[in-house]
Structures are given as structure tokens and as C-alpha cells.
Amino acid sequence: MIVQVDASVYDEAVLHKALYWLGKDFISEVTHLNGTFEVKLTKPNGEILTKDEQHSTEEKLRQSLIDYKTRSVILSETKNVRDLIIMKAFFHFSDEEINFDELLTSE
């Protein structure tokens, strides 16, 4: 089966994260053509998918793309605050002095 994914909506990292969890059941091939990812999914044993299986697989992939895109937004929006929390949590193990006020105002 082939699924078209709009590359202007989902980046390659999001697509591969979504495909990772389908890897148990499918071999996936991804081609990037004219702003679209063409995803070819085949069963490892070459078995042909029924219409219902194709429908449920596409539905699963599309929901997964939405979820991984949401996760990627959380990750990018929270990267700095996450780094600062972790630095603050462990800075007393460091030999270096860290000026957190400076780090906060430099953002």
C-alpha cells in the first residue's frame, strides 16, 4: 500500500518516528517527491493487505503523525526550559560556576 504524506505539514523526523512503530509489521520505503512523502508499506512476507487492513493501517499512521508532530512542537518549545531545569538540578556536581540569571536573560 502507498500513503501520501504532505511534507509541508510533517517533517521527515516526525514521519520516521511514526513509521518506527509500524516496523514490526511492515517494511517501509520513503520517497520525497515534489513536496510529498510517498510511503510504501509492504508486509515482510509479501502478503497483500485487504481493504480493511489498508484503511486501519493508514488511520493508525495518520494519527501517529499528528501525535509525533505535537510531540516535536513540545520538544522544540521546551528545549531551553528543560535544559535549564536539568542544569540547575545537577550544577552542584560541576566544577564550573554557572550564572543562571545570565542564561535566563540571554534567551
Binding site: K17, W21, K24, T70, I74, T78, V81, I85, I86, A89
Partner: protein
Amino acid sequence: MKTTDYYLLPFHFDKFNDKEILVNLFGDFLIAEQGTAEKTVYREIMDESQIKNLVSNHFISQSKYPANMDILATRYRTKKSFLEEFTALHIIVVTLNCNQACTYCQVSSINSTKNTCDINWEDLKKSVEMIFESPSQHITIEFQGGEPLLAFDKVKSAIEYAESLNSQHQKNITFVICSNAIGMDEAKLEYMKQHHVLLSTSLDGPEAIHNRNRKFHTDASHREVIKGINLSKSILGEENVSALMTTTIHSLPHPKEIIDEYRKQGFRNIFFREINPFGYAVNNRIADYSTDDFIRFYKEGFEYILELNRAGEVFIEDYAAILLRKILTPFSTGFVDLQSPAGIINSVLVYNYDGYVYVSDEARMMVEKGDHFFRIGHVNDGLKKIISGPKVAEIAKHWSNESLPGCSDCAYQVYCGADPVRNYLKTGDMEGYRPESEFCHKNKTLIKYLIEKTLAPDNYRIFQSWLAN
């Protein structure tokens, strides 16, 4: 504050039955309507009370950098507090000799008539010295085998040498002997009592199950371990004797009978432990069951344990208690299988009978199959050289679930752990493959199951009593 005027804090989410679960960096969770994470991210939440709920539970913040950042950093550090002191659990394999032939033995023990596989004094001495190199103020030295009682002179030498070194180091040391309790006698127990040594033994359930799993030269394996447990309790005290069970294919239909056997022997807890599907366990087909089979066994036993607690009897399932401590409290646990960075090296080291140092029990088992991948050095090398060596640096690239494929976005990451050894054994590389990982499937299923259980107030009260225990 306008409902759309907020900043995200780090969190993960997952589908949770017909709802959604959001889990933040510190282990707080929130069960909400499906789509809540997406709406939160795209500022589509219009309900002010929901915004307040997300703020107070640290999923979003009113300012770019939350005013209580120091508190959040402390909470994060508390969740990772197992890292603060470095390796605390040190396992010395004093001998490979054993007087049993357990069907699931993963360490390739050998018949007790041979005595070529005892640790020699030089390696034992160096092992103890290396243990004291660990910066941890709290040290547990665990003696394993084979059967350590068959090399009790080595155990005694190690204890006495550790005690002599400790007069200078002043660490808090706990000694544990992991023994099948066959061959336990009053003299050994008096020595253990005098030196504050705990006993950890194995009890797989009622006689029929225990004898089938843990073979002895007669059919008296269960009788002997019960005799050993009773004698040990009478001399060491009940609180200093514990037992572990291993789930084999023979255990699966009998979770209640196994729990009742533990109750009959006076234990107030049980650890439902899945078999390690390696070594002899595979050859003997005793591990021939799926993770779903184990989960069914676990849930049936757990429901029975909840019934006992509801009826007023405090009885704890230890794996649940470990997970619940991570889910319901700000704290971490010392349980090495559920840590990230992984428990191997950071929390446990194994000193084998031949003087080589391994990262875990499973790692030393691999050696008997000719695979030395997780051998990280020799006791002659010293701790500093070993842990700063290239092998440990390589392992460290794969020991945090925060950076592993399939784990890095997982909602349950903060409650779970990374296990490079198990990954290597299953897939041939330390990264592993989550869609087919039994470790992932088991833990994700049990974590979701336990979170669901906490939502019922009567269960919640039971769990709080376990955590206070």
C-alpha cells in the same frame, strides 16, 4: 492571564483507554479528554479551570521560565537521586559451584563436586578494595553463586576484610547472601547474625511448583528451603530474611497458590518476577511463555493481593510497589532494572569468580556462552580505570531512555528504565528495538494498569499504605 497566553513545560502524552494521559518531567500525571495535549500545544484550550489545572501540575507555565524553577530542578534531581552516590550494589560471585540444578539457571552453575570455580583470595581481596573505591556512602555487598554457602569461607573472608577496611572508610555497609538455603546451619547463621548479614533466598511457590523448577538430588528441594527459611528467621529475625520467586511456565496457572504459599511461610510480600529468557531456561523450555502470558498471571495475582488488602491483610507486591513509588511520589527507587541512566554500572557491578568485572548478572551469564561483550575490566584494574574506559563510554551512549528510539517520546519514560544488556541479548545491539521489546511491552502495560488502579480511592489508600511501609 488569557487562556492562550502561556508557555509549555516538558511533558509527554499517550492514549489512555478512552482518555489521554499527560506525564511531565517530574512524574506528575494528568488523565484528561483525548486531544488535550494537542489542544494545549496549539493554545486551543478555552476552559480557564483546565488552564489552572495544567499550570498547577507543571505542564504549562505563566512565564517563559517558571518562577519556581529551583523547586522543579530539585524535583528532577530527586527523581534521579540514585545517581548521586554512584554504584551502591556490588555483587561478588564467590563460586559457580551449586548443589541444585534449577531449570532456569542463567548463570551456568556447575556441579558441587567440582571446586575449580571458587574465587581466589587475591581476586576476592581486590574486589573488596575496588568496592571501597565507590564514592557511595551506602554500600551493599551481595554474595552470589552458584551457591555461596558452598564457599562460605570466602564469604567470611570478604566480610571480615570489608569490615577491616571500613574502620577507615566509615561507610554504611549491608551484607546479603543470596542462597537457596539448602545447607544452612546454625553455625553459619550465628556468624551472619554477628556480622548483620541478610539472607535472600528463593521460593517459587508450593511444593509441586518449587520442586519442578528448583531441582535437587532428591525431591526435597521445597522441604529443605522451608527448613532453611524457618531456621534463618529464628536466628536472624523475620525482617532479615526475604524470598524471591521466578515465574516459569509451571507457575502461570497458579498465582493465588503461590501467594498463599508466601503467606503460609509468614511473608508479607512477594515479587512477581518474570523469568530471564536466557541460558538454561531456554533449553529447558521453562521460559516458553509470552509476555502477555506473564501479564495475565501478574494481573490475576495482583487482583488477589488487592482482595487480601481490602480484607485488612497488608500484603505487598514488590514490583508494583517500586512502580507506584515512581508514579505516586517525588522519589526514585534503588531498583536497578528501572533506572535511566541504566542501573548497570551506575548502581550495580558484578565481580565474577575469575576476577573479571561485569555490568550485571545477565552480562556474566553471557560469558558462559562465550560472549564477553559486557566484561568491562578486571579487579586488578581498579574502579577508576574501569569506569573511565572505552567500553563503559560505549555502553553509556545507549543507557538513557531519554535518548533511545521509541523511549524518547514515551509518556511512561520517567517511570521506566533502560537496559542495554537485555537489548543486546535480544537484538544484538545495545539500542534494542522497542516495537518488539518484551521489556517495553511488559512495563508499559503494567504502568498503565497500575495508574488505572490508583484512580479508585480504595486502591489508592492501599497503595499509600504500601509506600509508607
